[in-house]
Assembly symmetry: C2
Homo-oligomer: 396 residues x 2
């Protein structure tokens, strides 16, 4: 029987207020540095609930990440605004029809959201034009800073807020995205606390998977154990990404586990497992991979590879410190792995030559790591992302 020492923490809504303060500071500094008027409104649109194709099947909603960062709102259909001059934060909630109460649950009054999300003001979405005009027009038409920019990971663009009547305002599409994205890079203590908790949950769940894994099981059963432990004991309803429960040859497929490769292999005696899974708590995620033999005993080849990776891991950890370049740590990992493989006579030749030719990328085709937070690759729109990963076979 699984046991757990987890205690899901209260979600500190001050966390999101802290994130808003960080944005305010950065926006004001930017406006000052560019000699722009020190005002305007950062306006974001939260995510909408989606049906599956043409049906009435509602997908379980998970808030858009930038909106989650600033407002922590779990419900769909919201807008959020931050007035740069006063620092006031405003939520706009959807006005729900009366029969929502029968089908979906209690219709919460506006003060509920004000209290829950620690914002200064709450109105309905259909009041957005009037509220922004009435309250923020003392210097003429307020400028709305909308979120529009490219996620460097996906190549997709964030969708700027839109609503009926937006043409009554001046809008700015270029300012907010890079500044807000930069804010998300460095995490606050409260953010780190949630990330740590999500990682604690995931660690415990990984151990439970390891405990139960044995030959004859299916990979998806390991996924199920992870999901269950994370949700039942850790209160994590979502994962940061689709669980990768790879055994045998599947372990070499980096993003195994999706619908077209759905964790459906039977575990064999002698298999290595590569388990790459992470739970998410109040939007903040985790990303943990561990690798072990399904039958509990490494054979000699498995031990060689495992130890080569472990040595690279330890080398990087011991060299990481402020001022060290990420790309140098990537090279250190590759070099350490190549040296281990050479020592074991798996590869032959000159290590420096192998490094120049990026032979290491054959054994480690992915980056050394990535930032982690509200998204698994967090934030995806970070414009300096190229320093975090080293594309396969790029000459360095």
């Amino acid at each position: 029987m699984a046991t757990s020492s987890l205690a899901p923490p209260e979600v500190p809504m001050e966390l999101h207020a802290g994130n808003r303060d960080r944005l305010l500071t950065a926006l004001r500094a930017h406006l000052s540095a560019t000699a722009s008027p020190p005002r305007g409104i950062a306006l974001l649109q939260g995510g909408e609930e989606q049906t599956r194709h043409c049906t009435d099947h509602l997908e379980l909603f998970r808030q858009e990440s930038y909106f989650a960062y600033l407002f922590g709102v779990r419900e769909p259909g919201f807008y959020g605004a931050i007035d740069i001059a006063s620092g006031q934060s405003i939520l706009f909630a959807p006005r729900l029809p009366p029969d929502y109460a029968v089908w979906m649950g209690e219709i919460k009054p506006l003060p509920y959201f004000k209290d829950r999300y620690k914002v200064d003001l709450v109105f309905y979405v259909d009041e957005i034009v009037q509220v922004l005009q009435d309250r923020f027009s003392q210097h003429g038409k307020p400028v709305l800073f909308l979120l529009y920019g490219k996620s460097t990971d996906s190549g997709n663009y964030s969708k700027p807020a839109s609503f009926e009547g937006i043409e009554k305002f001046d809008t700015d599409l270029g300012t907010l995205h890079p500044i807000l994205t930069e804010c998300r890079v460095i995490k606050s203590e409260m953010e780190l606390g949630l990330i740590q908790y999500a990682n604690d949950v995931s660690s415990e769940a990984h151990i439970e998977v390891m405990r139960q894994a044995k030959p004859g099981m299916k990979e998806y059963q390991l996924e199920s154990i992870f999901l269950h432990h994370s949700y039942r004991y850790g209160a994590c309803r979502h994962c940061s990404y689709t669980c990768i429960c790879a055994t045998g040859e599947n372990s070499s497929i980096l993003h195994y586990g999706h619908t077209a490769a759905p964790n459906d292999r039977t575990l064999n005696d002698g298999d290595m497992a590569l388990m790459d899974m992470g739970a998410e708590y109040n939007f903040y995620g985790s990303d943990i991979t561990c690798s072990y033999p399904i039958n509990g005993k490494f054979n000699s080849n498995q031990a060689t590879v495992y130890n080569a990776v472990l040595k690279a891991h330890n080398a990087v950890i011991s060299h990481m410190q402020p001022g060290v370049k990420w790309v140098d740590m990537h090279k250190l990992a590759e070099q350490t792995i190549l040296e281990s493989l050479k020592n074991e006579k798996i590869i032959h030749g000159d290590i420096a030559d192998m490094m120049t030719r990026r032979l290491g990328a054959v054994f480690m085709p992915h980056g050394l790591g990535h930032l982690l937070g509200i998204d698994t690759h967090d934030p995806g729109g970070y414009p300096e992302v190229e320093i975090w990963i080293l594309p396969m076979f790029m000459q360095v």
Copy 2:
């Protein structure tokens, strides 16, 4: 420790071939009855994998339901065609880039899909224009029957297939949707087998939830137990709908459990539970609700309501037979409930009068039931759906 007698069955791919045959028969009959040429191609576009907002977070893909019905393809990015004259079935698979093999898994050759999905021919999506022109132009430009129509449940329209070069064909948007939707209403034996299996899984999982539920737990822990039992023992990765684990007052909210009402209440001694959950297996789903006291003992009021519903349920089951009208069964359920409540002196007055005024809808605001299959409301586009539900307070 949970145990299970479940054995996930092999998925019979002939099932989808059978569904295609049903469509062919119906389409040919329609063309004959309307004195139209007995040819053309039913062409559908499968679903595409979606990222979450602008990020590179891939949502776990679940095939679009009409496409799943006809082709059973689990992978995203496919097209499927059925030639009405010859009955030939053709799949068009996406041509994947070489680095797919590193990140996502083995690139399957076309014969893999031909064998797996029991179709006559497989090509790449980028060959679609050429294949349709080369093979089906002996009577001039072939007519493509595309899927376009309204889901009467959601109000959404299905998205007809589109691809570069479609303008080289004649297209028909009106014929396929109502005919294919009608095909989906009556299930084949193989479809019933999968629906039965999904229901068997769900029944077992519900019992496991009931076994473990006790005061002090959280509603979401019950959800987690259900999900885990269905996936670990039943191989059901998806559910038909978001789990509704309602206790106490939440039990009166029909679609409780979504993100804005997320199964987060603590179970109290004395609570009733309303558990509405269903697993899905190879696209075919289940939908089971059961209600019981969390502490294992009905109090008097709980027993009264439970027995009123049970009596209505049994009355409907014993009166159901071919030729009986659904709406009459709905009325029978309402009347039986009203009679029970009157016997218990909870309501007073003339039952016939209450029926005319639809007082029963206060206690049963939803329909008596719905069709079930690849969608939970299956098929949502069924044009005669109004006979299946009785809107609240509609005079009958």
